[in-house]
Amino acid sequence: MTAAARSAILGSLLLASGAVAQPAAVSLVVEVVQASNEGTGVDAGLERMREQFAKSGITYRSYHRLSRDQLKLAQGKPSEVKLPNGKTGTLTLVSVKGSTAQVSVSLPPLQTVATLGHEGSVYLQAGPHAGGVLILVLTPAGT
């Protein structure tokens, strides 16, 4: 076997091992919603959120989406989300098991770890803002 062939095989093995060891990643849709009792109106796509909140006993008259981004979370690499009230949310992918991902969210004073699958969103209260309250919405991309 020539040196070139040996190098090619070694390179292939290294590439293969790199592919196997590549850290997991998931895509999340991150939305910032302001809920308020000042004013009325619910932005398109937030009717379901308002309904779920109302059924849970949290009632606001208006729901407005302030931002919507798709975030790719890589395992062990924190991603920050800046909120209009000055707070910063830090999202970290903890682990991926099958088709579910465990995501850690730090949104002072709140720390939480949630498991996200193909369905369901996590709504986190993110503090007051402009006469209402901010809500950070995490939804698996593709839902």
Partner: protein, 193 residues
Amino acid sequence: MTAPCPSLRELSAYLDGEVSPGVRAALEAHLSACSGCRTRLTELGAVGAMVRAHVEARAERADLSGFAARVLARLEPYRPSFSERLRVSWEEWRTHRPGLLVGAVGLATAGLALLLLVPGQAADVSERSGAMVRSVSTDEQAHVAPVVLKTENGDAIIWLVDHPDRPSLSIGNDASVPEVTPPSQPRPKAGEL
């Protein structure tokens, strides 16, 4: 000509009714003519009666309490092999419950086919359960406490409520978070947190 005298064994069989009609007739003909044999037959019958009376008396005096238990204790349980049990079960089902057997085989086949042809249907329960909050807590200095609400659509709402008495309240741990109904008094209001 007189027939020879019967033996004790033959007389005993006659007494017990164990001889054929022909032998009985011959014996009775002999007994009618032989006083010695009639005496032996009477004595034999008396001895038999005494023996029976003696045995019955002993049996009545015998302590038979626990007899069945002692007998059962001496019996060794019969443990058939797995293959034998399988064979017996199969025969019982085939003989007495053929309809159930066909149904069970059909169900098992259908289940196997479902698992093989529709992969992931049974395994993805967690996906259907929606978002799940594993742990939630607030900073030590924060005078708010988190409340986790699970909606019927599988969403999870993490809400903060005023909690002046305890700076921080953790709900759950790595295992799971119990569903918590929202506090009725006071309801969280916009902008008050």
